[in-house]
Structure formats: C-alpha cells, structure tokens
Symmetry: C2
Subunit: 452 residues, 2 copies
C-alpha cells in the first residue's frame, strides 16, 4: 500500500479540482508513485507514536535506542512535518548523550540503503565544514584514483555553507548518478565524486538537513551522527576526518576539538569504521573562491599545477591525501604524503580527474562567475590578521550560492597580506541584483576582514 | 506598504494562474488586504535578523530584553515560518531565566492591542489547564456579572486540551465578537465570555500557540508569559489563578506548584497585576463531560441548580468566585465565598448567564453529543482510585474535540466510586468513525482509570 502524508488545502475552483478530486504537488505525486486519476482513500493522519519520545526529549530526558530508532524510522518515511522535525532537531541540540548519538547514528544507517564494495579497503575523507572554499575532496579523490585506492565519494550539497562538494563538482560534471552507473564508474576509475542524495544513504539525515539548513543548526552530536551514518552507509571502511579549528570556524577551541574528536572516535569505533582525525587551520577561508564556480576554478588550478594556484588549498589536499594513502598496507609507514605529492605534480591526479569528469558526464556549458559584481575595499591601510569564515560564508550565501552557481565571493587578498586604504579585498559575484544587494549590505555592515 | 511572507509554489496550469500572476490562499489574501488584480512587488525574503538571537538561544544562551522584543515583533508580524517558530519554542523550553520570562511577557503585551475599562477593578480568573472538564469560568463569570464586578473575560481556544472556555461557550453563544460590540456588552452586563483571538491581545502568543498546540508544548515560562500577557493586554487588574496539582495534571508536585506560583507572582508584580494563586485538586477531571458540548451541559446543570449537577465543578467554581469577590472592597473580609454561593443558589447567576448568551448571540442550533459512541468498561471490579487527566484529554482529542463540538468523553463514574467488572466507566462520543476508532484504540491501550 502506498501512502503519503499531506496537509489539506481546500480549493473552490473547478478549473483546479472537481468535487471529489484531490491534487498533489509534482514532488509529492512522484513520491506517492500512483498515476493521475488513481483512486485513493484518505484519513486523518494518526500522529506518529514516536512524537511522544520527541516530547520527552524536549522535557530534557535521554531517549533509549529503540525510541530513537522509531523516531528515525518515522522521519525517513516522511511522517514528520517540518514543525515536528524542527522540534526534534532543536531538542537534540539542547543535549544529547554519547549513547544517544551512537543510537541515532545506527538508526540512521539502518533505515537506508547500504553500498557494498568488493575491496578490503574503501577510503574516504570528510571535512566537518565551516571553512569556505575548503574543496580538498575534488583534489584528494583524483589522487586516490590515480593511486588505485578505492574511493567512491558520495557528497551532500551545502547544509549551512555556500557550497558543498556536490555543488562544486556539478559545475564540471553531472553528480546525480544512478546507483548502477555509479558502480560501473567506480569499477573502472576506482573513484567517483557523486551527489549522495539519490542513493538513500542515511535518508533520515537528508530529511533532517532540510530543517537544519534553513535553521542553520549544526551541533556536534548531529554532525557526528550525520557524517558517520553517511560514511558507513556508503560502505567506507577507512575515513580521514578534517576538523578545522579557528576563531570563526565551527570548532573554536582546542578543548572543543578534542571533545568532538572523541565523540567521532567513539561512534566510529562502535560502527566498525577506522578513523583518523586531523585538526587543521580554520582561521580563514581556504583557497580564493567561495561558491561553486569560483571553487571549481581553484580546484582545477591546483590539479593543473598552475603556478598561481592557491597554495593553502594545494597543501591541505596533499596532506589529507597523504593520511588516506597511509591506510594502504602497500605504502611504507609515513610515505603517504610523498606519494600524494608525486601523483599531483606528475599530472596523474589531473588525468584521473578528467577521466572522472568524462565518466560522470562532462558539463558542456562552461559556467562563469556571476556577471553582477562589486568589490569590497579596505577602509584603511594595514595588515590583514584574520578573515571571518562565518561572515564570508553568509555573504556568499546571500549573493545566491549555492543555488546560483556563479554567485559567491572571490578573495583577492588573504590573511598575512598588507592592504592599502581603498584596495579591493574581495569581489562579490551574483546573477541577481537582489542577491548582490543582500550580500553587499552584509559586507558593508562588517567585511569579515580584520586589519591591524 | 503592505507586506506578506509566503512560500513560493510554482504552477504551470494557466487555468490557475497566467504567467506574471501570483496567487494567495484566502487567509493570506485577507491578511495582505489588497484587492484581486492589485500590482505587487516580490523579492526574496530577508531572513528576520532576530533569528540570530534564536540561534543563540538554541546554543543555550540567555537573551536580552531587546533581543526578545525583536523576536516577538517579528513573530507578531508573521515573519517566522512554522519551522522557525518551532525552533524558538523548543529552544525556550530548554531553559529560560526569570528575567527572560518577564521580558517575553512585556514584549508580548507591547506588540498587541490593550483594552482599557472605565473601572478601578477589573477581575478575571484563569486556570493553567490540564484538567479536562474544568469549565469553571462559565459559572464564575455569570456570578461576577450578577454581583456587578467588571469581568470582561476573553478566552483562548484549546491549546493542548480537548476544549477551551471559548470552545465550550461557543456551543451556547457566539464568541467571536468585534471589539465595539464587546465594549457594549460589558457596559450593559458587566461581563462577557468571548474568544480573545480577534482582539489582537498579545498576538504573538496566538502565533506561538499555532505551533505549541500541534507540538503539545506547555512549559512553565511560556505558560506564565502567555497568561500574564493576555490578562494585562485585556485590561485586567486583579486575577485569581487556579493551579491544579495532581499526578497527571500539568503540575505534579507541591514543589513544582510553588515554583510556578513564584514565577507567576514575580512576573505579575512587575507587570502591575494583582494576583491570587489558588492550588486545587488535580487528581482527576472535573465534572463529567470532556469536550465542548458535554462540558456546556455540565455548566448549565450547575447554573440551573440541578440536583444531579456535578458537585465538584460547582464547588470549585464557587470557591474561585469567592476569591474574586474578595477583591471587592465592598465585601467584608472572607465573605466572598458566601456571596458567590448565594448568587448561584438564588438563580441570579443563571439569569446573568442567559443575558450574556443573548447579548453575545444565542446559538439556535442545539448541539448534541456525537452520535457515534462507545462505552469503555471496567476490566475488573474494584474501587476507582484515580483518573489520568492526560489520558482522558488525549482520548477526547482523538475523538475529535474541540473542532468536533460533540466529540469527547462522558465520565459515568469518578474516583472514589466502586465498579463491577464490565460496568461502563465512560462513554466516548464522536461524529466520525475515524475519530471514534482513534479514541477507542487509545482507551483500549490504557483506559486512564486506576482500579484497586
């Protein structure tokens, strides 16, 4: 029996619906999967029983494994309204025990698909986010492919950032790939850079994200459950996790970083995932571009070994790739970094990326940065001491990223540089005047650049 | 400039909308207040700035008076989505300081209308709810009217209960009364029993309730802010507050009751409202009927001095009315109770109620309890020791109350009574089979009656 939960809206226009007819939005129609004109039965929706547990959570209680499993099952089946999802997410943001976090992770894996790969080692990397422009995956994955370590990377779209790996990769190639085709690509290329949304990997996570994104909620516990559940469901056995630490990053102190690392380690261990956590510099954005098109430009510059490619992006990607290669028993201890560097410098990584782009379906239209632009200038001369990651991300989002691929921020100078008064520090790109205006308002309020 | 926040849905059927046209639901059209065919401008909604404060609240911080004022202003202007409202409500449910509660209350009064009355004493009573069938207001208000103390009672509809005073009064008379007419009625009758929804008294509270109701969230702090803001906005100067205490009531222990009383007293004092808190028995529902029609029947039985009128409802109403009359300087100290009893027994209260019903507009259609019914029987013989208020309320709501006026639960025996095995304990009424089935399922799972 097919079922769908819907909110009733009454129409009195026979041009829309005749008496006795029901209409659905296109997405809902697709989800229900019945042809137009099909007979249906309707009944008042029975509130999901698991909502009682959500109420207990709001009241400050810890939930049992089975309560969380029931909640996640209902969420994955789209039985929660957005209001109810927000209630669950915010209640969990209040507090969540380690045991609850593990139970949530397990429940999230259990309600979805699980990919399996015919290889002893399936490596992956992930960054917890919060650092605009940190698009290392698109450099790391080709390095793995060039080395021959299985790295079938499925990424999400941006949650709270101006672009996710899937959003940026989509500038170059198709990322919405059917499971069969994905398997073929991985068999041939050892890697893929696909959007994970269609795979039903931890599908409850996707539903939760639909509420976390607009509310911009991103707690440690939800982050751990989201990331680990997606990796386990995607069939990864070994994961390098990048946790940037900085004053405007998601993690702002060493003690928070350690607490988060331990939570990741606890959950990963109980889920059977080998984990290497790397703390990285989160004091400013990585690379120059922030937003899908601008980031894709930086990534290709690094893979092309262009002399003016962003050095910080290149260095970070090679370091992470090195840790992943260190998982390979065939690599001598500590030699992963050198191997990664070699694969990048030789052009092997670029060649692998070009093969991946072709395999996934190369985008023929060459997207450009948004044609509307505005430069944000230094109010006074001095040395840039820091760049606010959150502020730059918000400006890029207001400009229209990630939906508007060309929208974003292009950082012309980075921390450490000297600027003259009136010198352009960064350029905002947008495709709509509203987007540009919103972004400029935000930048004029506070540029995000700290000048000493 | 008129503005409305709306979610965009795209239609491709010219029978609905032509290119370049926008449609709105009827309610939204009314709120916008522009004629059909009017030219409008659209822009991407700028997220309300106060959402940043909501995020700080989710992160566990206390908010300043001005932050809460900004949130409440945005909420009253319908700038928050349901998801954002849920986030605010659940974050506040996590914790809220006394100062935040006071600031919230003041902000809620400030964004709305304030009624003023030409009298030194404007009395009111309120119950915090949670006890099904506790419809004392509809007895107390006529007693005040008969005595001549100004008691312009505006009530809300049910939040988490099967019926609010407005829902029950609506069985007998119109309760949706324009402000001008309300003033006339109060001038003539000294009282009114109206729905407060149209008055824009603490309008943010109504918006919050639209989320609290489906989520069934009812914390102490939100309760205090909601009740005190409504009373102050309605122009009350003196309030008797009924806090039922019992194992299945909203307040379950004496210590919680005292904590709640102190919070009420603190906020009331700072808002200039004279407050008398009364703790009452919350160990079982009051009266017999639960649901609008069934409760209206009980109220009229008490006012009519019928010999089999529910004694507990009568006793409680007289006690509360006594406390209110004690506010009257003309009444000798401690004589309020006797005066209340006299006004009820003499029929003066009934006559006042009949005048109120006529003034508000008598309902000509005589509503009956739902025609579908099912008796819930005792599984074994014994003495009823307690009745679960929450369970009975949920059963009545599942049956369809308060939207379905005739739906609800009719308690045939109460705590203290002896039952035989198989004897009917209560009758569920509903107008739809779905409602009856939902309610019976819940009752069969746990009747709510404790038999020793």
């Amino acid at each position: 029996m097919r079922e769908i939960l819907a909110t009733l809206a009454v129409v009195d226009d026979p041009a829309m619906l005749e008496a006795g007819e029901l209409g659905l939005g296109e997405q809902a129609f697709q989800r229900l999967g019945l042809p137009e004109g099909a007979g249906v039965e309707i009944a008042q929706a029975r509130p999901p029983a698991s909502l009682e547990s959500v109420r207990r959570k709001i009241d400050g209680e810890a939930l049992s494994d089975s309560e969380l499993a029931a909640i996640i099952e209902d969420i994955a089946a789209y039985r929660y309204s957005h209001m109810e999802l927000a209630a669950f997410v915010v209640a969990c943001a209040g507090f969540m025990t380690t045991q609850e976090t593990l139970a949530l992770t397990r429940a999230m894996v259990d309600v979805g698909n699980r990919l399996t790969w015919d290889a002893p080692l399936v490596v992956d990397k992930h960054c917890i986010g919060g650092i605009p422009g940190n698009r290392t995956s698109m450099i790391v994955v080709p390095i793995m492919a060039a080395h021959g370590l299985l790295c079938p990377k499925t990424s999400s779209r941006a949650i709270t950032s101006p672009s996710g790996t899937a959003d940026t990769m989509e500038v170059l190639a198709h990322v919405d790939i059917a499971e069969d085709r994905l398997t073929e690509i991985v068999a041939a290329e050892k890697a893929v850079l696909a959007w994970g949304g269609r795979m039903r990997l931890s599908p409850a996570d996707d539903v939760l994200i639909s509420v976390e994104r607009p509310l911009r909620i991103d707690t440690m516990e939800q982050m751990v459950a989201s990331i680990i559940s997606k990796k386990v469901a995607a069939g990864s056995t070994h994961l390098v996790l990048d946790i940037p630490v900085g004053p405007t990053a998601k993690v702002r102190s060493q003690s928070d970083a350690v607490r988060l690392r331990k939570l990741f380690e606890y959950v990963a261990r109980h889920m059977g995932l080998e984990l290497k956590v790397v703390f990285t510099d989160g004091s400013q954005p990585v690379g120059r571009g922030v937003g899908p098109v601008l980031e894709a430009r930086d990534v290709m510059a690094v893979l092309n070994n262009e002399p003016d490619a962003p050095e910080d992006l290149r260095e970070r990607a090679v370091m992470l790739a090195g840790h992943m290669l260190d998982f390979d028993p065939a690599i001598p201890g500590g030699k992963g970094y050198a191997r990664a560097l070699e694969l990048l410098a030789s052009g092997a990584a670029l060649a692998a990326m070009e093969r991946l782009i072709d395999a996934q379906g190369r985008k023929m239209e060459r997207l450009a940065p948004g044609h509307l632009k505005h430069d944000i200038k230094a109010a006074r001369a001095g040395r840039i001491t820091a760049i606010d990651c959150e502020r730059i991300a918000r400006i890029a989002r207001q400009a229209g990223a990630p939906m508007d691929k060309g929208a974003g921020v292009d950082l012309l100078v980075k921390a450490g540089a000297e600027v003259r008064s009136g010198e352009a520090m960064y350029r905002i790109h947008a495709s709509t005047q509203t987007g540009l205006d919103f972004a400029c308002d935000l930048a004029n309020e506070d540029t995000g650049y700290r000048i000493a």
